[in-house]
């Protein structure tokens, strides 16, 4: 937390680690907790039915600084939230013999969470006679992912493989000639991959020689570029406006907007960029001008240039090999 506050705050860093997790009393294998990505993956919990998960936490506060400063009644609170379920659970961590280290646990109940819970830490104290002041916290939250198989942070797209010609999802049938379709109306954006399109599955999934690999990378980047563009447009279209001010959306729309605005408006702060996006969307002409930049941002995110570069290089090599 680096926002300037109208009262003194400690300069040192605050960190939070999830050091263990128990699912209905049974320890979760440690590989389900990734410190690098700050993610706890709960999807592959062996028992499908579970009621609660207890996360063991360890926080480190700026040593020395807190005891010397102007802060009284310093408490350290872990907060577990999920936007979609309006869930909010808090737990106080208590001091240990080790200076600056606080430990404790927080419980996630199944009925209160759906897909991704966020875990953050706040340091709260009485400052200049005012109790309850937030004086610090973690810069990046932990994610408790109830759907992920592996503890990986990015989960932005669902790939849905289906034969468009023979599916119960009637709306897909008219598109049976299309290799894929991107849909952004749902809870998660989805790429419907048409397995009825001959060869596409092998192309995307086989191992193959370097040329095939390169083409696969190209194709994947192509799909990803389209998906990012569609997701970005959908997120902007769905912006909620309060008193003329566009609000950050929730879920994937939030991640997509925050992920791309930096490339769309490199000179603006995220908040200003959001306002600018909304303003341009509301007046048609200037929105059209923005298309190249949106496409550029999406292509960057999809690593199109890198994949194309690799493909060109690989094709050159294979051409040379053939001549030899």
């Amino acid at each position: 937390m680096k926002t300037a506050m109208p009262y003194p705050t400690p300069a040192g860093e605050v960190t939070l680690q999830v050091v263990g997790a128990k699912v209905d009393g049974r320890a979760l294998p440690l590989h389900m907790i990734s410190r690098t990505h700050q993610v706890v993956a709960l999807h592959e919990v062996e028992r499908r039915e579970w009621d609660e998960v207890r996360l063991e936490l360890r926080a480190e506060l700026p040593r020395g600084e807190l005891s010397a400063g102007a802060w009284r009644d310093v408490v350290c609170v872990a907060v577990l939230t999920e936007g979609a379920t309006n869930a909010r659970t808090t737990a106080r961590l208590s001091g240990t013999a080790e200076d600056g280290v606080r430990t404790g646990s927080i419980t996630l109940t199944r009925g209160s969470h759906r897909s991704r819970a966020e875990l953050s830490l706040y340091v709260v104290a009485t400052v200049e006679g005012v109790p309850g002041r937030i004086i610090g916290g973690t810069e990046e939250s932990w994610i408790v992912d109830l759907q992920a198989r592996e503890p990986v942070r990015e989960r932005e797209l669902v790939i849905h493989k289906v034969d468009f010609r023979n599916t119960d999802e009637e709306w897909l049938r008219p598109y049976r000639d299309a290799p894929w379709l991107i849909e952004t109306t749902g809870e998660m954006p989805t790429v419907h991959l048409n397995t009825g399109f001959e060869g596409i599955e092998d192309l995307l999934e086989g191992s193959g020689n370097p040329v095939e690999k390169a083409v696969r990378g190209m194709l994947a980047a192509q799909i990803a570029t389209e998906a990012w563009t569609a997701m970005f447009q959908a997120a902007v279209d769905g912006l909620d406006v309060e008193d003329g001010v566009p609000q950050w959306p929730t879920g994937w729309r939030d991640r997509v907007l925050r992920g791309l605005v930096g490339d769309v408006f490199p000179d603006l702060s995220p908040a200003d960029a959001l306002r600018e996006l909304h303003a341009r969307r509301s007046e048609g002409g200037r929105w059209a001008e923005l298309q190249p930049r949106i496409h550029y941002a999406a292509a960057r995110r999809a690593r199109l240039a890198r994949n194309l570069g690799t493909t060109v290089r690989t094709l050159e090599r294979s051409g040379e090999d053939n001549r030899r």
Partner: protein
């Protein structure tokens, strides 16, 4: 044009956002046509749980009764009547309520006519045909016509006592503004807001909005969870209440039903926040009210 209770399917299903989007046609929003019932039912996925909490009939009965009890010109008052009864009938967890498929199904299969009755504007500019906004059919939890009522009951109740939720639902500005704020996910904060409404500290819309802005802004430097501790709802109490769904009689139409007994909100914590919020509100700019301390 109404959905007749005997034509409806027995069970609630999940109607995905993408499927729902295709069913919300312009004519549905203006009330001139109904969403196609058979297509909507076919597009829905069944819910793997055969308990009565997913029955359609008790919910449709509530919708019919709400329209019978409230004249059209006072239809906004139906919110406070329906919200606790819908909540007590549709006994689901927050995780289940976060599935928009449930609300899409209620909107497009069970009660499209209710949404038109409740939300169709009476006036439009330039003689346009009045239309309900699409987000009443499929939208965010604080916009969708049925979700907003269920969530208001869930977030403003004090354990099994729905009275604070009724207070909240009587004020459209609470539903429109406060319901969307993350700060009310902390139970004492939500209860302090309804307490201020009960004691008349805030009444009209712009006061509610000023209060909402003031306490939401202050929450960026003050942590209400620390000032007003709450051990949170008791998950077992809620589970018990949901498990009792097959035993409970239908929600009473005349007396307020009981909600899940999942632990009362600590009243001391509510008192602390009421004092804090009174102070914040007194200092907040309210349109039409002279700013504190600037009286000439």
């Amino acid at each position: 044009m109404t959905r007749h209770i005997d034509d409806l399917p027995e069970r609630i299903g999940l109607l995905r956002d993408a499927a729902a989007a295709r069913l919300v046609a312009r004519g549905v929003l203006t009330g001139q046509e109904e969403p196609p019932l058979v297509a909507a039912i076919r597009a829905a996925e069944p819910i793997e749980d055969d308990r009565s909490r997913w029955d359609v009939r008790p919910i449709r009965e509530l919708l019919d009764e709400a329209m019978r009890r409230h004249p059209r010109e006072e239809r906004a008052q139906a919110d406070a009547w329906l919200a606790p009864r819908l909540h007590a009938t549709l006994r689901i967890t927050r995780a289940e309520a976060a599935d928009t498929g449930v609300w899409n199904f209620l909107a497009l299969v069970v009660g499209p006519d209710y949404l038109v009755w409740r939300h169709l504007p009476t006036r439009t500019k330039d003689g346009e045909t009045p239309a309900v906004t699409a987000d009443r059919f499929r939208g965010l939890h604080y916009k969708q016509g049925f979700a907003r009522l269920w969530w208001a009951a869930e977030l403003f109740r004090d354990a099994d006592d729905y009275r604070p939720a009724v207070v909240a639902c009587r004020n459209q500005d609470v539903l429109n503004t406060v319901l969307r704020l993350d700060i009310i996910d902390h139970r004492p904060t939500a209860r302090a807001v309804t307490r201020l409404l009960e004691q008349g500290t805030v009444t009209i819309g712009r006061e509610v909005n000023a209060l909402a802005t003031a306490i939401n802004t202050a929450a960026s430097t003050l942590m209400y969870d620390v000032m007003a501790p709450d051990d949170g709802p008791d998950a077992d109490g809620l589970r018990q209440w949901i498990d009792d769904c097959d035993l409970a009689p239908p929600a009473s139409l005349d007396t307020l039903p009981d909600g899940p007994d999942d632990g009362p909100i600590p009243s001391g914590s509510v008192d602390t926040l009421v004092k804090q919020f009174e102070k914040l509100f007194a200092e907040a700019p309210v349109r039409g009210r002279e700013a504190a301390g600037t009286t000439p």
